[in-house]
């Protein structure tokens, strides 16, 4: 059982559609991060959310941290083929270890 559960595991949509990806846990975190990984590359940080209920926007991406700081969501508006990739949520555990969710693989068809 993973500490961070992501859903859905896989999403294939048409260009212009909206989508939401979820990251859930039974643990409370001081912060959550979202990364995107493109084929052949390592993950790259998109955003860090710190405060319960916080909403952050990055162009067409909207990130929300749950009020209880146990979950987070990523909403993409009008998805484009360039959004294709693996989306990973991550949280710091214990001293310094960064743990990741299982990931959501997004494919946006032109």
């Amino acid at each position: 059982t993973q500490l961070l559960e992501q859903s859905p595991q896989f999403l294939s949509i048409q260009e212009g559609e909206n989508l939401t990806v979820y990251c859930n846990s039974s643990s409370v975190f001081s912060s959550l991060q979202w990364y995107r990984q493109e084929p052949g590359e390592g993950p790259v940080l998109l955003v860090t959310v710190v405060t319960g209920g916080e909403v952050k926007k990055l162009k067409r991406l909207t990130f929300q941290f749950g009020d209880a700081r146990k979950d987070s969501s990523l909403h993409i508006t009008a998805a484009q083929p360039g959004d294709t990739g693996l989306y990973l949520c991550a949280a710091v555990l214990g001293r310094r270890a960064l743990t990741f969710g299982s990931g959501t693989r997004l494919q946006v068809q032109p």
């Binding site: 912060s31 991060q33 052949g40 993950p43 860090t48 310094r96 270890a97 990741f100």
Partner: protein, 113 residues
Amino acid sequence: DVKVTQSSRYLVKRTGEKVFLECVQDMDHENMFWYRQDPGLGLRLIYFSYDVKMKEKGDIPEGYSVSREKKERFSLILESASTNQTSMYLCASRPSGQNTEAFFGQGTRLTVV
């Protein structure tokens, strides 16, 4: 530009061989990590290090060891490679602090035959 460099993009090794995966970062980060990535399982933490010569086990340390003799370099060692260690291995570093960003290398695709 910040950089995490892994020594090989692709490796093919035989069962039973001792395998070294090297990672170097140029950002003076205290923390370094080794993950393996398999389809549907996300990134699973093997080992991490928070200082020179210091290490802690992650979620799946069995069959692996690590070495950090210098701050910039973190090595992952497969003592006796097995086919179930065929995977993508990712190295990362991040500075101290709760919300700091992790920087990743491009990964090493290891195949054990």
